[in-house]
């Protein structure tokens, strides 16, 4: 319990810091913030004062920050200049797309990476080990914005197997429940005449971006699993298990694997940050309508409220993920519970 309290207390300065950065971001932009917000089209003086007041810019700076915090806490992150929608609404509209992409990428990276890493550790210094370690180093070094383009070049342009962009063929009209197309298409398959066709379409659209996004996590997970496993296999208690007459498989799966996976959980938290980075790039390449593409577009269109709100929300999500991972770590490691 104390562990969680301490974690929670550590959270406060971080959140405050992020809010400060986002708060000052708009105010540090050279020029008048109101003019920055309305763009360069010019504005009549009455409207200017109205806006200034609406934005709270006439108040002292501390009070402005307080209002900003209060609003942010209530999910009120301002409105987009481009679409006039609330930032929160725009975010929620796009968030499922990013989550679907990231989860699928991470899921496959974990599902493939961990067994590969274990196998390489067991077969240390074998051909397979060398092969896996070299290819994972290449994967780790891969500029994914280029990798995505190469995947498009091969699978879409040359082979014509997959679509170039989007989440699903526009011919399908899918009722949205969760916003995750893989789930929504399955659900609609029961009701609609199209059957599983929309589902396959969603998968076809997803497969390339997920591959591009999953490559680096896959490489990292495979390497981490291998080295963590090797470290554990060198521990004294593995020698004890052998001396007790345990079989090789039992030693690997019961005595070593669990202990080796604990540090990997921590890596997954760090990976989440790089997945967000990756998602921003991947979504740009594949025109995936998620928050990454949304934020990059907002830079081009100088849509400051969107940048501010987007950065705030994404950092918040990353911080929350770290907390969740800490909690998982806490439950995996008996030492922490003591």
């Amino acid at each position: 319990m104390k562990f969680f309290l301490k974690k929670f207390l550590d959270l406060i300065p971080t959140l405050l810091g992020i809010s400060l950065i986002c708060f000052f971001m708009i105010r540090l932009i050279p020029g008048d913030p109101v003019l920055n917000l309305v763009g360069e089209r010019g504005v009549d003086p009455v409207r200017y004062l109205e806006m200034k007041k609406a934005l709270g810019l006439d108040l002292p700076i501390i009070e402005q920050f307080w209002h900003f915090l209060k609003n942010a806490f209530h999910g009120n992150l301002g409105t987009s200049i481009v679409s006039n929608n609330s930032v929160w609404f725009e975010f929620m509209e796009r968030f499922p797309a990013t989550i679907e992409l990231s989860l699928v990428a991470l899921f496959f990276a974990t599902l493939i990476g961990i067994p590969l890493g274990i196998y390489a550790a067991i077969k240390r210094n074998s051909f397979f080990d060398y092969f896996l370690m070299s290819s994972s180093l290449i994967g780790y070094s891969m500029p994914i914005f280029w990798w995505g383009l190469i995947l498009i070049l091969i699978f879409s342009v040359k082979l014509g197997l997959t679509p170039v962009s989007g989440r699903i063929d526009l011919t399908f009209d899918i009722p949205l429940f969760s916003g995750l197309y893989l789930i929504d298409t399955l659900q609609s398959a029961v009701l609609k005449a199209d059957g599983l066709k929309p589902f396959w379409s969603a998968i076809k659209h997803l497969i390339l971006p997920a591959t591009a996004l999953g490559t680096i996590p896959l490489a990292v997970i495979a390497r981490m699993t291998r080295s963590s496993m090797l470290e554990v296999l060198g521990e004294d208690y593995i020698r004890t298990a052998r001396a007790k007459g345990m079989s090789k498989t039992r030693i690997i799966y019961i005595h070593a694997l669990r202990n080796a996976l604990v540090p990997i959980v921590t890596t997954l938290a760090l990976l989440f940050g790089s997945i967000i980075t990756g998602a921003i790039l991947t979504e740009t390449i594949f025109s995936w309508p998620g928050i990454g593409k949304w934020i990059v577009q907002s830079i081009t269109s100088r849509d400051y409220p969107v940048i501010q709100g987007g950065v705030l929300i994404i950092s918040f999500i990353i911080i929350m993920t770290n907390i969740i991972v800490d909690v998982i770590y806490y439950f995996l490691n008996p030492k922490m519970r003591n």
């Binding site: 992020i18 290449i138 990798w147 383009l149 498009i152 940050g273 934020i295 830079i299 950065v311």
Partner: protein, 288 residues
């Protein structure tokens, strides 16, 4: 120190991957330094009659343009050669900035502990909750896009890695008896931190520096690709990729080549970093 590096090199020589990495790094340094002599053309020179030519070894290519030309008729090979200058100096700047500040903060944080440590750790938490691209977006939003701002953003994001690694090592080292012995003959805190302890943190620092180099190159290229980093007509590889995107179907070489350059450069630093880790990590040594 001299012995340290000669032994390190002895260990590295046994590692095939690391040697490949070193050879390629030396090769790219060579190219970067001699770019004006090697490059067949000026990287910004426009050949109006040679738009999007394929490489000379493919049908349709011209002899003067070995890797072909881009959408406004600039020689791709020359642009790639000059691009290595940018990438290597970007990597170098990122490592220098983040290494110096990260090492200092990490040593102080690990050695003193207490409030200073907590303050610095919260700062790293803060930076780590902002992925590099997001941080760059904030900076670009304020200062506008450009290679310098991109380097600043990427360096700041790289600092926590150095802080954490150095801090962890310092916390181990400061409890060793040689530090107590130093205190006993009257060595001051600054001397203990930077003369006694820091040289013993070299191993993880060197590894992280090598990996930081590749991260720096990759991240700045990514920013260039998003239009947040280097701006045209700079021949930065990420920016070149971004320009080439629309021609992926008709002129795939424009996409392929800059990416391969990024991949190879990043890979060679990662190979080196990996080799260094194997050579320096005592735990791995024990298993051998």
């Amino acid at each position: 120190m001299k012995i340290f590096f000669s032994e390190l090199f002895f260990e590295l020589k046994k590692n095939c991957g690391a040697m490949i990495g070193i050879v390629f790094i030396i090769f790219s340094l060579f190219i970067a330094f001699l770019a004006p002599l090697i490059a067949p053309h000026n990287p910004t020179e426009v050949f109006a009659d040679a738009l999007r030519l394929p490489p000379s070894f493919i049908s349709g290519g011209k002899a003067g343009f070995f890797f072909g030309t881009d959408d406004i008729g600039r020689d791709l090979l020359s642009r790639l050669i000059y691009g290595s200058r940018i990438s290597l100096s970007v990597g170098f700047s990122v490592v220098v900035i983040s290494l110096i500040s990260g090492t200092f903060l990490g040593v102080v944080s690990g050695y003193y502990g207490g409030m200073i440590d907590r303050l610095i750790m919260r700062l790293t938490d803060l930076i780590m909750s902002l992925p590099s691209i997001l941080f760059a977006i904030v900076i670009v939003a304020v200062l506008g896009p450009g290679i310098t701002n991109a380097i600043v953003a990427v360096s700041v994001v790289a600092v926590p890695n150095f802080i954490r690694i150095i801090r962890a090592q310092v916390m181990v080292e400061k409890n060793r008896q040689y530090v107590q012995a130093a205190k006993l003959f009257g060595a001051g805190n600054a001397r203990i931190m930077f003369i006694e302890i820091l040289p013993n943190c070299m191993a993880p620092l060197i590894v992280q520096a090598s990996l930081g180099f590749s991260d720096g190159i990759l991240n700045v290229a990514a920013l260039g690709f998003l239009g947040l980093g280097a701006q045209a007509p700079m021949s930065e590889w990420g920016t070149m990729l971004s320009d080439a995107r629309s021609y992926i179907e008709s002129s795939p070489w424009m996409v392929t080549l800059p990416g391969i350059c990024i991949l190879l450069t990043v890979l060679s630093f990662n190979l080196l970093g990996d080799g260094l880790r194997d050579a320096l990590d005592p735990r791995l040594k024990k298993q051998n």
